[in-house]
Symmetry: C2
Subunit: 445 residues, 2 copies
């Protein structure tokens, strides 16, 4: 038994780093009682030494030389919560190469360079753990890596971005339109001044890239994810969804399909009409959830706080204890080598869809549109027509009608082609929203 | 690297055992690709060799001598899915003593003898894993043991018994009374001919005993759990709950409280009025969920199939892979020694409550009852009175009224004493239901 302390170098001391220091101080003795480990942070690398940390810690704990912390022979283990690719990537590589386990909360780093870093950890024989990089405080990566390693996972769907969930919750529950809901989220500090990373779906894309890589053992990077944000979701779409028993969520979806006996993967982020009784429908505001479908396990959901200093620090601490236990045992967890991902082109995807068209309000128009759908083998699950003077007709001219369809599962390529035919009809003024519907039909994927 | 197969002895081949054999056969190559392990079941011990297994397996795989499988030097690892205490306890002890890791799905065994078996695994330096013993396919034990090891967990609440959830769902959604809903569950095979273990809360008690032991690092056995089943829940209680924004669930609750600076634990199973918007409220039919509250992580929920051959086999397989990886590495997971639990007496617990009284319907009675509550410092959150000719008055005599209260948090001991005073009033005909309410008030625990 090695009774010497596990000495931790912390890179970054913002919201998560300082929450971790406070949590570790509070829990140090309880952790020691349960594991025998004496985990202490002996160095904290920060960008600006002059900024107060709000923590009563000795001044000589802090340094602005992160590389020196990584290279320090008196540091056993590195926790990286600085974020961003540079210099985090070089620091994590250097730590792993030096035989130091790394715990990171860095989503961007893993989404773009995960395979390289997992391989570096494996060849150094040390841990690279990253629970906090996806879905904040929710312990999901560990169950996915370990508990579900033998499970035939078909699909993982996550609500992984709190900003978009808050905006969509506001639109649904207060009837706000998108720009009002965004402005409120910005005023409350839930959305950035430049909200693109969140509302454009890019934050969720980085997370689902990591999840897809782990779930399917193949390298999926953020740039491979088919991304559509929520900026085009209208108050009318929300109203249509509510009336028809759905809520709209921004879902990140990773899926495995057998195409003629060969495995293809897909990873996408897009708004989806989720049936109101589905467990994902009740995920509101800043909560995250990850829904897993597997052939043996059936349906699983993991739910909790997706962000925030304390929940994220909780996830980092779980990894830190695990890495420290492994370090003392001379063991380490391994992702295994990631295969090259064979991705299904987005046009090959299929789904039920909600379509909203504006057409000239005269006899025969609906029949013409329905026959175009039928000619293209698009089967209609439900349809409704609203005149200009009806509740959903607000944006219509007097001679226009709004026609909303929910289709059965249809291929995206066929749908796009069919929409082009509809746009070419004289009687169709415009094709409005086209949003996927989470279908619970017997899957034909 | 050791390339030889990991040879597994399977004890028991009922629903879970045969689902495991099928799943392992399907996933063998995928597991091998990701871990390098060749996991094969080389012996299956069954009680009755003459029963067909419905599996196309060589006859010489099967034996009726479980002790010989455990003692076989050609077996590396034991999976126990036979259930029950005897002979499972002796077999698991013998396997551990012989240096063989054990994966078990045996809830009863761990609830009564967990501490002894965890200690035996530790002293042999091998794994004892049991994900499938609690909440079926939901990966909850591993996150609790590992991810949340450093988290200050305050409370764990689980819906862990599918039979009672199915019965309560039927009562809520179809307006059935308890005996009708039970009879239907029995007809559908969800409930046993003798349903006591489920409807009496004892199955859930065994599960929460295991959860409390792991969450709080102290030995809690099934007999220490304060148990109340659902047999007294009436259609009127369900109707009251629905009208007032609640659903009734059988919750298993493990909690940690600081009492004058000393830590006390509690473990209980009882029906609870859960607010309809709480994530646990949407858990229906045979699904299970476990809700965790921690100071840092906030609120977490784990949701999925609580029973069934395939989901349970999925959980067993996750453990089996983990145990095999550890065996090859010469490592093992440890629960650590369990402390002696200091349990809070059930009378010291406090909660909001729903109370239903039947009183004489005449002026002044309500005031008399309310003043008894007030004199005993029981604060009323809401109250409603129903006359004999009203919708909730079905069971009343013409001169009776039903009075329903929801109280704020109140101590159980004080509540019981106050109910005795109420029972002694000439104007109170009877005290009906007394059911806890999941309170979201600022906790005063």
């Amino acid at each position: 038994v090695n009774d010497s302390p596990v000495r931790v170098g912390l890179l970054g001391c913002g919201t998560v780093g300082s929450a971790l220091l406070a949590l570790l101080e509070r829990q140090h003795d309880a952790i020691s009682a349960r594991t025998g480990l004496d985990i202490i942070v002996t160095k904290v690398a920060v960008r600006d030494l002059s900024r107060s940390r709000g923590l009563e810690l000795p001044v000589d704990l802090f340094t602005d030389d992160a590389a020196a912390v990584v290279g320090d022979p008196d540091i056993d283990l590195i926790v990286e919560v600085m974020g961003g690719i540079d210099p985090a990537r070089d620091l994590v590589r250097a730590a792993l190469a030096g035989g130091k386990p790394v715990v990171t909360a860095n989503k961007a780093l893993l989404a773009d360079h995960g395979a390289e870093l997992f391989a570096a950890a494996d060849s150094a024989g040390v841990d690279l753990l990253f629970e906090a990089a996806v879905a904040g405080g929710i312990p999901f990566i560990r169950p996915l890596r370990e508990s579900l390693l033998g499970e035939p996972v078909r699909r993982v769907m996550g609500i992984m971005n709190g900003t978009t969930t808050s905006i969509l919750t506001k639109m649904t529950e207060a009837g706000a339109d998108y720009s009002e809901a965004l402005a409120e989220a910005q005023a409350l500090g839930y959305a950035e001044a430049d909200p693109t990373a969140d509302v454009g779906g890019f934050d969720a894309a980085a997370k689902i890239a990591i999840v897809a890589s782990i779930a399917f053992g193949a390298e999926v990077t953020a740039s491979m994810v088919d991304v559509e944000g929520i900026t085009a979701v209208s108050a009318d779409d929300i109203a249509f969804a509510s009336r028809n028993g759905f809520v709209i969520k921004l879902l990140a979806v990773a899926e495995r399909a057998d195409v003629d006996g060969a495995e293809q993967l897909s990873a996408a982020v897009h708004p989806v009409l989720v049936p109101a009784h589905h467990p994902l429908a009740s995920v509101r505001e800043s909560f995250n959830a990850v829904f897993v479908e597997g052939d043996a396990v059936g349906e699983l959901m993991f739910y909790g706080r997706g962000a925030g200093g304390d929940p994220t620090a909780s996830a980092v601490l779980g990894d830190l204890i695990d890495a420290a236990v492994n370090l003392r045992r001379g063991a380490h967890a391994s992702i295994g080598a990631l295969a090259v991902a064979v991705l299904r082109p987005p046009a090959e995807a299929s789904s039920a869809h909600y379509l909203s068209l504006v057409a000239v309000d005269r006899p025969g128009v609906l029949a013409a549109i329905a026959s175009v759908l039928g000619d293209n083998s698009i089967s209609i699950a439900s349809m409704s027509q609203s005149a200009a003077d009806s509740e959903l007709g607000g944006a219509l001219a007097a001679d226009e009608a709004r026609i909303d369809f929910v289709t059965h599962r249809t291929g995206r390529r066929n749908l796009e082609a069919t929409l082009d035919v509809l746009r070419s009809l004289e009687s169709v003024r415009r094709v409005g929203s086209v949003i996927r519907v989470l279908s619970e039909e017997e899957d034909e994927r």
